[in-house]
Symmetry: C2
Subunit: 687 residues, 2 copies
């Protein structure tokens, strides 16, 4: 049961697809308070209530004890105190004696104080008085999530090749470096499906251009790579370089498609290209125009993109620089006062992503002029929409890989997200684990983190352990920043360990893709907290670091340095499978309860659920090369069971064809259990 | 067996007290390499080797997988990538098939690459060619630590009152605020022994002055507080304000006791008072002079001090400011180049703690002129020494509370350390846990972290859980920074939970103090990794988050938000005691092996070891009020056992009087086990 309540005159967002009549009476469950002119929606939590949600947010799977500010922010240093990350996903579910969900559809900032100021008080504070709130009642948290997911519509569906292993770095300098990356993966037998082109592939960081110097024959190069099973995935930044003669700049100016200052001039912000204008993604013409530019790349065979810097991140604005300059001109460098120097530093570091700048430009929302801060959280989302809608025009029957750094609920229908710039910290591996189900709750199914960490130097063991989790995430991309240690799989010695771990991924792809597709098509989650699958198990409610992935497996990633294993809780008997490679495994039936499982750095444990079946195919060097005519089956049952695998061509959009479902079954055949399927079963490991 | 190897002509440090003849041949166990003119001492680790040590350092108890740079640094943001914290403790023990320890006695920076660049390679790189290395062979890691501790001499011994609960904040503004803090603790029944005076108690941040405005009758106020059982503990900063007529400044100038620039002028650095000179703590006259100043406070009844800002931290120098100014004067604010703005920011943020500044001043080491960077890690240590040696002069038979932010091995003989500015992060609670045994290895026994975290806002549950660990650390101080949420125990509601948790501490003080004293007097550790106590238990080697505290108990603190308990590993059968307050407890005998123990936020679990005995006294509102004539005994045995409690007046220095040892025993008395002791046993919980 979903009820909708409208406050003031909300700016429309693309979040919701169902038409629900607004209630007339006051909002259920929440008490309205007012403070400093803002409405606070207050809820008293019980001691044992858990609060799920908030998608790409910091801290735990259970969000209690934190303060979260939905305000899309370029924040790579995700320490525990950080309140805003790259996305803004205002959906929470409180679950305990009763379960209730809230979705605050509000384009400006919203804060969630979830037992932070006072242990049992939840306060939701929208940044302005104009917003819509949806109140969702249901039998359980999971039931509420499923209702919510129907409310916001079917998630973007990635092509199957996007389930391959992907390698990125800011930046591979030129054709030869990319060739070298591919060659080294192939030489070492490390499977690979995609290489990313970070900002330096462009000519002067100009969107939809390619540096002639670095990639002199780009169309041919795209083709060459494709022949080796590699997709090149270029980055597209939000800001359009101000440069006379650059067509995108000229067109944007001419057709008034950029964000404006109060005086009507085009707003200027400094990002990678230097001074840029921001396309007004809130405007449908601007979206259509910018989206159409992706065609340049699509026409030469590019099938995937990542949209970046679209919070939008700003390094500086001329106004900010002028203020800083004036401050500096008046600064008394002879001061004896330390606070003055702290202020001086703050003035300079504060040049980036200034709130004052966000308050100084305007969008034309198809006639309605709105100041940026009131729709800040929609900006990146609408860039994703621009691309997604364009793809539907350019190639209506084809799926593209598309994901974004900034996002808002609604943009999940046009693209995925990666979790933004992170660090080579073990704590960020754990954060990655905890974010996955939260992102799924909010509709983001094609998602993952920068494996190994973007900033800072990664160690061998961290990358191994992170890959050990990453082999389960739809987006499996290794990415690292300029100036950090090389992070490709062949950079750490004993490359066979990396080959093995990634080979496991490729064996799992048919299962992972199937579970991903079913989650997409049924508005369901692929990554679930234990409590969603075992709702009557009180201990399962408290587990933050184990996840059920699809219908057949539970994972318990190891995320601590020097650990030889970890504790796990099994809500029922399960089959432990420790993979050393796609084909080398050990098995152990484990009883319901608590255990310590051992897994070396080069091993990946997973658990097959009771009465479930896990199909594995033979590994390959790329998704193109996967042979899905033959399967090995691991099953933990002594009864008839069935697994329905979803399989399609992975690129076209006829998702709903019933022919895409392939049954696998364990059946009693004259007193002996065996596996049957239209596929060839080459091996059965039955427990 | 300790061997000493001397490279070049090392600057003397106060680290070692034993006179060992230097070996003539080349260093054992290590391979000498050379890179960029620096000597690298290289060691090949086995896969299963554990590396302990480094005292106050980042990351795990097992230091493998990290890069550590010993270079005392003002670094409150202790994220995983940070290589330098406040202390420099160059002692490591490698333990596996063989065990060997290394102590690099080197006053300049030293880096330890412990499987960071390459998983099994350990590289020690002293910053210069002049250093001494001690190689220690032993039967076990613990044996090596004990040899090392004898090498570096008996640790500083704190007064017993310093085991009371202590409250701090930057800053309590004046007398009335301090009175209010004390009153609220007393009113709420929260025990308290000390209140700290952070920088604002001073007159213009001038060392050894008191603001007349804030504390108009300071000597009377010290007395008033003492009558309420409260010790006031003032901060002493390293920098001496440049102000005509300020006696300390005038004397320092007159007698040439400040650090000098190359041109012989007094080096200037901006810290809290604005421009200051740094006392030349490397010089024995300067130490004696500065140390004598503590008498001002001692004469009016002050018995404890904390030395701060002595890395030394610098906010700016005139040279740095001039450079920044010049840079700014030449900066093209019309630039279109983002990197220029990043450089601009770096220029300003880089004003603090500039390496160039550390390279620009000099010490007079009793005749030998040395540049600061070559003795950087000794500066804070020698400030501690200045105070410690002064106390011995001022009141030879009396113990003072003294701890420092910066430290080097050697300074552990004159004072303790707190682990410096940290954050209200759960990860810093865990870091606190992991640091304790490492600090003990390096001689720092009187130590602890800012409970609840210094920077950022603390939540109720974080403070509760942190106190749940803090009740075991010798220094138990709640401290928070300017601008953060109030963090006193009465600031979060339901204060009885805080009263209860701190009441447990006071019941434990006789045991904790006894174990602390025995560790000090025997050059032993109070906080031990499990592997030191159960060396033949292979799993115990891997446990990072459980510690043996003294001879009778093991602790397993809960350090995750929203956790209802945690997993523990018991290397033998143990008695779980969950304290809800000093007197309300539940008991459970637990078998060797793995368990999940539950403990609510307002409960503290501990484990009594097999055949050990834990004495508890009745709790009190301050250490003065503790009645140690009566004890309750918890014991886990069915045999005769004995516990030797160390007890003295807690303030004088006749440590070695045999009368200080009080035996407690469980004995078979006519077929019934009972407790006997010269003390009155009011209750026996025998398991």
């Amino acid at each position: 049961m979903i009820r909708k309540y409208v406050y003031g005159n909300p700016i429309p967002t693309p979040a919701v697809v169902q038409n629900i009549e607004a209630e007339e009476d006051s909002v259920q469950y929440l008490t309205e308070l007012e403070m400093n002119g803002k409405i606070i929606l207050n809820y008293s939590m019980e001691n044992d209530d858990i609060v799920y949600g908030l998608g790409e947010a910091n801290r735990g799977l259970n969000k209690r004890g934190g303060l979260y500010r939905s305000f899309c922010s370029d924040e790579p240093n995700q320490t525990e105190d950080k309140q805003s990350l790259y996305g803004a996903h205002n959906f929470i579910v409180i679950t305990g004696m009763i379960s209730v969900g809230f979705f605050v559809d509000c384009a400006s900032e919203v804060t969630f104080d979830i037992g932070y100021t006072s242990s049992n008080i939840l306060n939701i504070t929208p940044g302005c008085g104009d917003f819509t709130i949806y109140v969702i009642e249901g039998r359980s948290a999971y039931d509420i999530v499923k209702q919510f997911r129907k409310l916001i519509g079917r998630s973007y569906i990635a092509p199957k090749w996007a389930f391959g292993y992907q390698q990125s770095r800011w930046s591979y300098a030129n054709e030869d470096e990319v060739r070298e990356v591919v060659k080294k993966h192939r030489q070492n037998g490390v499977p690979l499906d995609a290489v990313y082109l970070d900002i330096d592939y462009m000519d002067g960081y100009k969107d939809f251009t390619v540096s002639e110097e670095r990639f002199p024959a780009f169309p041919e190069f795209v083709k060459e790579m494709r022949e080796q099973g590699i997709h090149l995935v270029p980055i597209i930044d939000a800001g359009v370089k101000i440069e006379d003669g650059y067509p995108i700049y000229e067109e944007g100016r001419q057709y008034q498609l950029f964000c404006k200052r109060a005086d009507g001039s085009d707003f200027v912000a400094g990002v990678w290209p230097g001074k840029t204008h921001f396309p007004d993604f809130m405007n449908s013409n601007a979206r259509m125009w910018f989206g159409s530019k992706y065609k340049t790349f699509i026409d030469i065979g590019i099938e995937g993109f990542w949209n970046d810097m679209n919070e939008p991140a700003m390094f500086f604005t001329p106004e900010g620089v002028a203020e800083a300059k004036q401050y500096l001109d008046n600064f008394d460098f002879n001061t004896n006062e330390p606070w003055k120097f702290f202020e001086l530093k703050d003035k300079l570091t504060g040049l980036s992503n200034r709130m004052k700048d966000y308050e100084s430009f305007f969008h034309n929302m198809d006639g309605r002029i709105v100041r940026h801060d009131s729709v800040h959280n929609l900006y990146g989302a609408n860039m994703t929409r621009a691309a997604g809608e364009a793809f539907e025009q350019i190639a209506p029957d084809k799926r593209f890989l598309l994901f974004s750094r900034s996002s808002y609920i609604g943009s999940h229908r046009w693209g995925g997200v990666w979790t933004g710039d992170n660090q080579s910290w073990w704590s960020h591996l754990l954060l990655n684990i905890k974010m996955m189900p939260s992102l799924n709750m909010c509709g983001f199914l094609y998602t993952g983190a920068d494996l190994g960490g973007f900033g800072c130097n990664c160690t061998r063991d961290l990358l191994m352990r992170w890959l050990g989790f990453g082999i389960f995430t739809p987006l499996m991309r290794n990415h690292a920043a300029l100036g950090t240690r090389k992070q490709e799989c062949y950079s750490f010695g004993d490359t066979e360990d990396f080959r093995s771990i990634i080979s496991i991924r490729y064996s799992l792809i048919p299962y992972l893709y199937s579970e991903y597709m079913k989650a997409c098509l049924n508005d369901d989650m692929m990554f679930k907290p234990l409590s969603f699958v075992y709702p009557s198990d009180n201990f399962a409610r408290t587990v933050e670091d184990q996840l059920v992935v699809g219908e057949s497996i539970m994972i318990a990633p190891i995320y601590e340095q020097n650990a030889v294993g970890r504790y796990v809780y099994l809500p029922e008997d399960m089959l432990l499978v420790v993979f050393k490679s796609s084909s080398v495994r050990r098995y152990q039936i484990m009883k319901k309860g608590m255990h310590y499982i051992q897994a070396a750095v080069n091993e990946v444990p997973l658990f097959v659920l009771k009465n479930k079946l896990l199909p594995l195919c033979r590994t390959a060097q790329s998704t193109d090369a996967l042979d899905t005519s033959m399967f090995e089956i691991i099953a933990f049952t002594d009864d008839n069971i069935e697994y329905m695998m979803y399989e399609d061509d992975g690129i076209s959009k006829n998702y709903d064809d019933p022919a895409h479902y392939v049954p696998f079954a364990i059946k009693d055949m004259d007193g002996v259990f065996g596996a049957v399927s239209p596929k060839k079963i080459v091996k059965l490991a039955l427990f």
